[in-house]
C-alpha cells in the first residue's frame, strides 16, 4: 500500500467588510453561526481536512479584514494563496460592484496559477436582495469563475463551494502533486510517531528465523 500522504494548501477569503467572510469560515470549519458582526481586524485562519478523490487535503483558510483601510496591507497575503474566494453580499449592490476591484487586485498580487470562485453570500435574505443571481452568474462567467450563492446562516452551499475551490486547486496543482507522491519524505513522519507514541518495539521483523 502506498504511503499515506497529505496535501496542504491555502485558500483566502476576500470581499468587502460585512459580506460574511468570517461567518462562511465559521460555518465551514466549526459548523457554527454567529449572527452579530464583529469586524475582523487582521488576518485569521483555520484548518480543515477534506477528502477529494481519495486524497486527503488539508486546507488552511485565511480570513482577511475587509475594511478598506486595511486593503493595502491585506494584499501582501495574496501571494501565499492557491485559491481565492471573492465574496459579496447579495443584499449589497455595492459589495458586488467592488468584486471587480478585488479581482483586479488578485490579478496583480496573487500567483498566476491562483484559482478563484465567486460567492454571493446571504442567499437566505431573499427579500433584501439587490443582486440578482443572473448578475452573479454573468460576472462569474466573464471572469471564467465558478459561482455559488451561499448562506452561512442556513448552511446553504457552504461545503459545496469550499470543496469546489479545493478541487480546482487540486486540479491546477496535479503535476506537483504527482511529484509529491513519489518524493514524500516519510522519515519525518516516522520520527514524529516514535517520539509521540513510543511504539518502537525492540523486536524487529528482521529477526525472523525460519530455517526451512
Amino acid at each position: 500500500m502506498a504511503k499515506q500522504y497529505d496535501v496542504l494548501f491555502r485558500l483566502l477569503l476576500l470581499g468587502d467588510s460585512g459580506v460574511g467572510k468570517t461567518c462562511l469560515l465559521c460555518r465551514f470549519t466549526d459548523n457554527e453561526f454567529h449572527p452579530s458582526h464583529i469586524s475582523t481586524i487582521g488576518v485569521d485562519f483555520k484548518m480543515k481536512t477534506l477528502e477529494i478523490d481519495g486524497i486527503k487535503v488539508r486546507i488552511q483558510i485565511w480570513d482577511t479584514a475587509g475594511q478598506e483601510r486595511y486593503q493595502t496591507i491585506t494584499k501582501q497575503y495574496y501571494r501565499r494563496a492557491q485559491g481565492i474566494f471573492l465574496v459579496y453580499d447579495i443584499t449589497s449592490e455595492r459589495s458586488f460592484q467592488h468584486i471587480m476591484k478585488w479581482a483586479s487586485d488578485v490579478d496583480e498580487y496573487a500567483p498566476d496559477k491562483v484559482q478563484k470562485i465567486l460567492v454571493g453570500n446571504k442567499s437566505d435574505e431573499e427579500q433584501k436582495r439587490q443582486v440578482a443571481t443572473a448578475q452573479g452568474n454573468k460576472l462569474a462567467k466573464a471572469y471564467g469563475m465558478d459561482f455559488f450563492e451561499t448562506s452561512a446562516f442556513t448552511n446553504h452551499n457552504i461545503t459545496e463551494s469550499f470543496t469546489r475551490l479545493a478541487e480546482l486547486v487540486l486540479q491546477a496543482n496535479k503535476k506537483d502533486l504527482d511529484v509529491l507522491r513519489v518524493s514524500i519524505n516519510d522519515k519525518l513522519n516516522l520520527a514524529a510517531l516514535e517520539e509521540e507514541e513510543g511504539v518502537c518495539d525492540s523486536s524487529s521483523d528482521a529477526q525472523k528465523t525460519c530455517w526451512c
Binding site: Q4, D6, K48, L190, A192, E194, W211
Partner: protein, 901 residues
Amino acid sequence: MDQSVAIQETLDDGENCLIAVQCLLLLDNGTESRLLGLVEHIKEHALFMFMHRRMAITGSDVTLQKIIPISYDFSVVEVSSPEELAVVGADTRLRVTFLNEEIEFKLPFGSHTRLFLSEVNRAWCDVCEQYPKSPKFDWLTKYQKSAKEPGSLPSIAASTGKIAKRERSHSADTRGHKEDKHTNSSTDKARGEGAHENSQERVKGEGRNELVRLSTHTVSNKAQMLTMPQFGLRDTLIKCELLKNEDAYTYIENFSFFLGTYNVNGQTPKESLRSWLGCTPQPPDLYCIGFQELDLSKEVFFFNDTPKEQEWMKAVSEGLHSDAKYALVKLVRLVGIMLLFYVKKEHAEHISDMEAETVGTGIMGRMGNKGAVAVRFRFHNSDVCVVNAHLAAHVEEYERRNQDYRDICSRMLFRQLDPTLSPLTIMKHSIVLWLGDLNYRISDLEVDHVKDLIMKKDFETLHNHDQLKRQMDEEAVFVDFLEGEIEFQPTYKYDMGSDKWDTSEKCRVPAWCDRILWKGKNITQRHYRSHMTLRTSDHKPVSSLLEIGIKVVNEESYKRTLEDIVRSLDKLENECIPSVCLSKSEFHFKDVKFMQHRAETLTLHNDGQVPCKFEFIKKLDEPAYCKPWLTANPSRGFLAQGDSVDIDLELFVNRSTAPELNSGQQQLEDILILHLERGKDFFISISGSYLSSCFGSSIHTLCQLKEPIQDMPLETIRELSLMATSETNSPDTEKALDIPKELWMMVDHLYRNASKQEDLFQQPGLRSEFEEIRDCLDTGMPDTLPGSNHSVAEALLLFLDALPEPVIPFSFYQQCLECYFTSGQCKMIISMLPQCHKNVFNYVTAFLRELLKNSAHNRLDVNILATVFAALLIRSPTKQDIMEKRKTQEFFQHFLVQETH
C-alpha cells in the same frame, strides 16, 4: 544630537564609542548630569562616564570621570522606585553594579535609552559568550590616571573570574512592583556563586530572545503535534479514534467457520474428503483446514518441497461443501504442517490484511518437523488468526508441548502493513482459532482401561486423564482458550486403513491428539467431532464448526464516524492555533507636539492553549514595521499560556520627522501588523493629530507667517511649504518677514536678558521649560518667553538643529568646505544665500558677536561659539567626519571675529 561624537574625540584609535546617552547620576544630595558612553575595543566593552558642559559636542566638552568595565561581575538592573509607580513615560532608573560598587542613573524615557540598554546588554552577552576567556581590559589602564576619581579601576583582572547574575527586567514587568530588594539580594547571591552557573545565567541574561529560540522545542502535547507538518501522526490518531469508536459503525454478524485438522502420516490422499469437509447441512462461510505429517520423506525435511502439497490441496478443494463456491485464499506450509484457508466466493472481498507465517520448534528447537503455520487476516472489521500446530510427541513430553506452544506464541510474528508498527503476535488478535495435532495424551491409565472406557463411551472419565485438559486446568498452556465438549473417541492411534486401535508392538494408548480450540468473544461451537470413515492415516480427522460473530462495517455510519473524528481533530487543531487578545486595536494620540514623548500601552494576553511568539512585522515595501516617529517596546517576544505582556507604543516626533508633519505632507497614521508565529496577524491602527510647530518648519515658511503657527490653517502652511520648495527667493513675497519671528523672539530674549549669563549655551536647559517655550512660540501665548536663559538658549539651538534646510542650505555645504580658509570667499558664499537664509545667518552672527563683547561675564569665546553653532548652521547632507567638522568651524569663525579687530 549624537553625543557619541564628542566621546569619540577623546578615544584612541581602535576604540569606538558605539552609543552615548545623557543621563542623571543619582547622588545622595541630588542629581548631576552625566554622559554615558559605551566604548568598544576588540570585543571588549566598557561604560565611560563623563562630566560634561551643556550638550556635549566636542571632546573638549567632556571630562572622563569613571570607567566601568563590562565583565562577568557587571550588571544592569532596571529599578522602579515606589513613588514612580506606573507612570508611563517616566524616566528609566538604572542600577549599575560592578565589583563592589553600585551606581544609579536616571535615563530619559524613550527609544534612545532602550537602544542604549540593548547595546549594553549585547556587550554583556558578548563577554559571556567568550567565557571562560576573561576580558583583560589592558586598553583601559591608560585612562586610569586621567580619570578624575583615582582608583576607579581597582584590579580589573581580579574581577573577571566572577560571574554576576543579571536580572534585566523590563519595565513592563517591574512596573507596579517593588522589586528593589529582590533584585538586590539575588544579585549579591549570584555574585558569590561559581562559574558553572554560566550557561544558566546566560539564558536569563539574554532573556526574551533566548526564550523565543527555545520555545520551538517545548511542544509537548498531542494537539500541538497535530499542527506540525508531519502528517503521519494525524493518520495514527484517526486510526486510534476509529478503533475506539468501532461500536458506533459496526454490528455483529455471525459467520460459520469450518475448522479441520488431520494428521495424514505421510500418506497420499486415497479417498474423498467430502465426508469430513462436507458434513455440514449448510455450506460454511470459511474453511481452515490443517494437515500434519503431510510428507515424512527426508527431501521435504531438507528442501521443504513436496508433491503432496498439491495432492492434498486438490483433495481438499474437491471435498469442500458442494453447495457453494469457494476461493483458496492462502496456503501455508512448513515441512509437513500445512494450512489451507478458503472462503466462500462472495466473502473474498471482505478479506484483507492477509499474512501467513511459520515457526519451527522441532530438532534443535528450530526445525520444521514440529512447529506451527498460521494465517492472520481481517474479515470485515475483525482480526482473525488461525494456527495449525504440530507439537512434540511422546506421552511423557507434555512439558515440551507446553514449551512448543509458548515458543509458537512468542515467535509467530506477523508484519504489519505499516512498516513503522511493531509486528503482531498471535495473542494480539481478538479471534484466535488453534487446531492441529497437539499430541497431548491420556496419562495414568492402562491401555486396556482406556479402551474399556472408550467402549463404554465414558469420555468424561477419560477426559479427566487428558494431558491437555489437565495442563489447561493448571493454566500451564492455552490460557483463555476454550474447547468444546469431546464426544468422540480418541483419534489416535489406528491401524492404517482400518478403525482398529494400534496393534503394533508399541501398542500405543489411544489419545485425543487432534484438537481444535478457540479464543475470543461471540463464538459458539455448532459441532466438534471426528470422522471415522476416513482410513488413510493412523489418525482420524477432526472438525469443528464454529459460529463466530464478526464485526461488520456499516458504511454509512463509518463515514459519519470518520467525519466526526476528522472534524474533532480539526477542531482540536484550530483551538491550538496560537491566540492572544489585545487590550485595544486602535490608538489615537491627540495633540502631539514636537519632541514630546507620548506613550500608550497595548496589553497582549495569551488566551490560547499554547505558548506563542509574537512580533511586529514589516509591511510590504516598507523599511520597518512602523513609521519613524513610532516604536513598540518590546517589538517581539514570547508569551506563555495565560500570561500577559505590556507593549509600550511610544510616539516621538523629532527633527527628522517633524518637517513633513508640520507641512501636512504626512499624518500621524500607521497600521502595525502584530504577527503570531503559526497563528493569525492583528492589525493595530495608530493615529494622531500633530500640532504644527515652528520647530521643524523651514525658514521660508516661517517668514511668511505673521501669526503663531498654530493659529494658521493647516492648508496655508501646506501651501507655503510647497511654495518654499518651488520658488526660493521669489520677489513677490511682498510682506514676508525678514527672519522668522520665533527666531527673533528667542534671540531678542537672550540679547536683552542673557548677554552676561555665565556659561550660556553650555548649561543644559530644563525639559519642562523647553516645552513651555515651544508652546509659547507656536501659540503666541504668553507674550514673553518663559523659562530660564539656559532653557531659551537650548530652545534656540534646537530650533536651528530642527530646520529641515539648515541656515546654510545643503547645496552650499561643499563650497563651504572648499573655501573655509579665505574670509572673503566665505562671505561671498553667504551673500549668495536665499534672502531669508542670509538674513537669519547675519542676524545670528551679529547676536553672537554681541555676546563675545561680554565674554568677561559669560565666559564665551570664539572657539566655543564656533563649535556650537557651526554644527547647527552648516550641516552636512551626509555623515560628517571630524575633518569636515573642523573646516565648518573655521568657516564660521570668520564671521565671529571680523569686526572685533
